[in-house]
Symmetry: C2
Subunit: 168 residues, 2 copies
């Protein structure tokens, strides 16, 4: 471990219905029907106070099955190679995942949420409240994402398979 | 280092005008006039391709001066103790910072941006494109944040001092 290394420890684990990377939706927007559960470890439960007032939270987690980092990747939604930092693909130098999910409820150390787009048993690193005045940017320019029509995005984002049985 | 530890390495460094935590704005929304610069290390520059098409990016970084973790904190914008995961305070179990900033330009390995709300020399962990269809949630319930009026938020968020010279 070199001197610049930064060490984090999971504060909990995320439980979802997704067991295979290839069939896991790529964003909460494409996982509206997928409910998940965050199990926060006992030592950190006190930090969840007041979170239930928020409708949405950011889950920040470790992509534990990201594989080797790549600097050029084909994004899920388009077959053109892009710089990895211009995509949300997991295989990045530091595989830190971020999902903005809808909070259903908080019961002691367990959060239930809608929009589960991560694998079961994903190690959780942090929870932040989604705060519209900071996080909802109304007017943006979305680069190559703007070239992807809604229908293609939804089909690929949900990992719907084509007639050959492969994600299309 | 226990077996659950997760090790990350900086991919670059963030340069800003802010040298003191107490006078650093608390969100990009309160740092409109503060430009910053990301210096990505040479090994990762290839991953920046196509990023210049996006108007906003998420910078994910290590709060290197966060101090000891606390589970109950008083947020910057309110004098009422809250669970740390219901706030954006740095002193959390894993001090991972997230800022949604406006990208001004990309020049080889350097990103210039508007909305610098982090300390100078902050270690950078990841860059993600801000994508409106995934990240801008239009209808939210914002918990205790909804109790903070815009004027108070702006004054505290910009770390404006009161007549005693302390942040108010």
């Amino acid at each position: 471990m070199d001197s610049a290394s930064i060490v984090f420890c999971p504060i909990g684990v995320i439980r979802t219905q997704h067991r295979e990377p290839d069939s896991t939706p790529i964003q909460p927007a494409f996982a509206e029907d997928c409910e998940g559960r965050v199990e926060v470890f006992p030592a950190f439960i006190e930090g969840l106070s007041d979170l239930d007032g928020f409708s949405h939270v950011m889950l920040i987690y470790y992509w534990h099955q990201a594989g080797a980092p790549q600097l050029k990747v084909k994004p899920y939604l388009q077959d053109i190679e892009r710089g990895v930092f211009a995509t949300r693909k997991p295989c990045r130098p530091n595989p830190i995942g971020l999902s903005i999910v809808e909070l259903i409820g908080v019961d002691k150390g367990a959060l239930s949420f809608r929009g589960a787009d991560m694998l079961d048993e994903t190690p959780l690193l942090d929870i932040k409240p989604y705060i519209a005045r900071f996080d909802c940017v109304q007017s943006t320019r979305d680069g190559w994402q703007g070239e992807v029509d809604e229908q293609t995005a939804a089909q690929r984002g949900r990992r719907e398979t084509n007639t050959r049985g492969h994600p299309s």
